[in-house]
């Protein structure tokens, strides 16, 4: 078991190292083979570990990393059912993304850099999933940030791409500060850095410290998971290659934040305020993402905003103390979002880099295979009854509803409204892309390589059927996921609702979704040139508001970036150049003038020097005399 876990981390890292050191001497095919092989091997190992592991958590110590006095950090792994699921999802989705990438990137240059960072990304994500102490998690956390930066900015010569990478880096870096502080707090207050130790010691924390650590972890998670108010980097991250978007949005980066909160769930549970804050962030982000996705035109931006919104549901579930529900949605989301992104990549390739959904109409005839695959993803995203997304989202809403606190009822209402928007924007995207009048030059689409579509099949099947891993009780299911995650600290078995309530919720939810799908059909299935939903200035204003992501970027630009730059310019021009530099200059000029005067004294005449000597001697004598006289 120890070997399996060690190899699980070692394979992607070795792959990345091989590519980094010898990649330039390898052919493109060799590079792709190394990258894929290492990740697929990691997937097989993750599967082995999953099958071998019992219900109890295992720790593996791989040696000392560094030590300073009593502070020492090990390279240790902590493998429990949570990490088992996470490693499985990460390696599964990344294996598919790697295989997909071999076809996607074949025509692009610089495969070595791409696959090296992709492997490193998988390694870092596995570190986050299995690391046994906070500092080791932090290492993975930072490598993920680095890889996302370089992968988003992969086509750095394209205008704006490098900026998008930098934006992602800076936004997540802001959250990393909170994470670092949380680590320091854990060390000073608990004298513990190991995951198990912190979770065991959580109950001994004072409520203030627990809330503090909880809020810091929440902020760290907000940055990585692109929740409000740090969600701005995710839509811009679409500048990267599409498989990268799939990897970041589906399997890895954005779920890292959610996973961090799950990891330290006992700490978070200590404070009711933190729980409420998490659900509040979740609900606000759900609405923000849903409304923004409703009016976007770029297919990748729609998917990006929908990711922000769906991750918000995971936060909401965590806030409602439903860890299993959150994990359930994480899994289904990983499947359908990876499917949608990879599918979008196929469509974009087929249409020669066309991103605007309103210029894609009528693809049902042109890309029949994509139609069915994309439909699977859309159904699951839109929580169409009986798909994976339906069960996971229903579960989250039910958990929120069951919370005794009155605040959660309000959150439940808002989340339900947002859940109505989700099918609307999902099917708006779907109908606009695949229905309507086909373009005249319909035979001009580039061929999609078989390898790309093959990888979509397992994802499509899983998006539809992922609900079976946690089939609700009233359907005769056994809640396998709940049982599997029971050993995770904090994942206490929730009070099971009556089956009547469950049926009512599901029926209402299904009805709502169907209505929205029909509404989307009515609004968007006709042929249309552009988004003609609006008529009055009022709705147009709203549309522009949503299209720009609630002007959040604008807000940061106006309130933070520009004032900060003005402050910097002030400090530069006035304080640095004006005060410090100028002050020093003036001082120097003063001494130079003084020196000019003093220079005149050095006449070079010996007699003058003797005179000065005598004068000084007389002065000293005079002083001594005066002292003696007046004593």
């Amino acid at each position: 078991m120890n070997t399996v876990l060690f190899l699980l981390l070692a394979f992607p890292l070795t792959g990345a190292l091989i590519l980094a050191l010898t990649g330039r001497f390898l052919s493109q095919r060799a590079v792709q083979t190394v990258a894929c092989a290492s990740v697929i091997a990691a997937f097989i190992l993750a599967l082995t570990a999953f099958l071998l592991s019992g219900h109890s958590a295992q720790t593996v110590n791989l040696g000392l990393w560094f030590a300073a006095g009593s502070f020492h950090v090990d390279i240790d792994l902590y493998y429990d059912s949570l990490s088992a699921l996470m490693t499985l999802i990460v390696t599964f989705v990344s294996s598919l993304v790697h295989i997909y990438s071999t076809a996607y990137m074949r025509a692009e240059g610089d495969n070595v850099r791409y696959f090296c960072f992709l492997n490193l990304f998988v390694f870092a994500m596995l570190v986050i999933a299995t690391a046994g102490n906070l500092v080791f998690i932090y290492l993975g956390w930072e490598i993920v940030g680095l890889c996302s930066y370089s992968l988003i900015g992969f086509w750095y010569s394209k205008p704006g791409t490098a900026d998008a990478g930098r934006k992602a880096f800076i936004a997540t870096r802001l959250a990393d500060v909170a994470f670092g502080t949380a680590i320091a707090l854990c060390w000073t207050d608990l004298n513990q850095l190991s995951v198990a130790g912190i979770n065991d010691g959580a109950s001994s924390l004072s409520s203030g410290t627990a809330a503090m650590i909880g809020f810091l972890l929440l902020f760290a998670a907000i940055g990585k998971s692109a929740q409000l108010p740090l969600s701005i980097w995710l839509p811009d991250a679409m500048a990267g290659p599409t498989p990268v978007s799939a990897l970041i949005h589906a399997a890895t980066m954005v779920t890292a934040g959610v996973y961090l909160l799950m990891r330290f769930f006992p700490v978070i549970q200590c404070s009711q305020t933190v729980l409420l804050a998490i659900s509040l962030v979740g609900v606000m982000t759900v609405c923000f993402g849903a409304f923004s996705a409703l009016v976007q035109r770029d297919i990748k931006r729609i998917l990006a905003y929908s990711t922000i919104s769906q991750v918000g549901y995971m936060f909401l579930a965590l806030g409602a103390q439903d860890l299993a529900g959150s994990m359930f949605h994480l899994i289904t989301h990983a499947f359908f979002k990876a499917l949608l992104f990879l599918g979008a990549g196929c469509i974009i390739k087929a249409l020669h880099e066309e991103h605007d959904i309103f210029r894609m109409s009528g693809l049902r005839k042109r890309l029949p295979l994509m139609f069915w695959l994309f439909m699977a993803g859309t159904l699951s995203l839109g929580a169409f009854p009986l798909t994976g997304g339906f069960f996971s989202k229903d579960r989250i809403l039910l958990s929120v509803f069951l919370q005794p606190d009155i605040h959660f009822r309000i959150l439940w209402v808002i989340a339900s409204i947002a859940a109505m928007i989700t099918p609307l924007y999902a099917f708006r995207m779907f109908f606009v892309i695949f229905y309507g009048k086909p373009e005249a030059d319909s035979n001009k689409n580039a061929p999609i390589q078989d390898l790309m579509t093959i990888t979509l099949w397992p994802l499509a099947i899983l998006s539809i059927f992922a609900g079976f891993i946690n089939f609700p009780l009233n359907w005769g299911g056994s809640l396998w996921l709940d049982g599997f995650l029971q050993t995770i600290p904090g994942a206490a078995a929730e009070t099971h609702p009556s089956s009547q309530l469950e049926w009512t919720m599901q029926a209402g939810f299904a009805l709502m979704t169907l209505t929205m799908v029909i509404l989307a059909w009515v609004l968007y299935s006709r042929e249309q040139e552009s988004d003609e939903l609006s008529g009055t200035p009022m709705t147009e204003a709203f549309q522009r508001f949503f299209l720009n992501g609630f002007y959040l970027d604008h807000f940061y630009q106006e309130r933070i970036v520009i004032p900060y730059r003005n402050l910097s310019v002030f400090l530069w021009k006035k304080v640095d150049e004006g005060l410090i530099d100028d002050g020093l200059d003036r001082k120097a000029v003063f001494f130079m003038k003084l020196a000019e005067r003093l220079r005149l004294w050095t006449t070079g005449q010996i007699s003058d020097y003797v005179s000065f000597l005598v004068a000084g001697f007389v002065m000293i004598l005079g002083c001594l005399t005066a002292l003696w006289w007046f004593k």
């Binding site: 220079r599 050095t602 006449t603 070079g604 005449q605 010996i606 007699s607 003797v610 005179s611 005598v614």
Partner: protein
């Protein structure tokens, strides 16, 4: 003792000031050297006077030291003067202004 202590000190001071003025105002190196010698001897008189006044012999010993130092100084200084006279052809102190800043 017939000569009062104050008189001897007055003589020493007078000689010292005259020597200093000589050293400061004259431009001839020899004359400057003579001024310095007079100052040294003035200090010798002050030492001897002190020695007589307090009936201690250290003052006289110090005078012997001063005379020895003065003899050595004169020897070196005269050698230097000869040297610079050869180099510049003059013993006017105003000609030696290489130290001017």
């Amino acid at each position: 003792m017939s000569i009062p202590f104050a008189h001897m000190l007055f003589l020493a001071t007078l000689l010292f000031v005259m020597g200093a003025v000589c050293a400061m105002t004259r431009r001839n190196l020899i004359m400057i050297l003579i001024g310095v010698e007079i100052m040294l001897n003035a200090s010798g008189i002050a030492f001897v006077a002190g020695s007589m006044r307090w009936q201690e012999f250290q003052g006289q010993v110090m005078t012997l030291f001063v005379m020895t130092a003065a003899a050595a100084e004169i020897a070196v200084a005269l050698a230097l003067i000869v040297c610079v006279q050869r180099r510049t052809g003059s013993i006017n102190a105003n000609r030696y202004n290489l130290l001017k800043g």
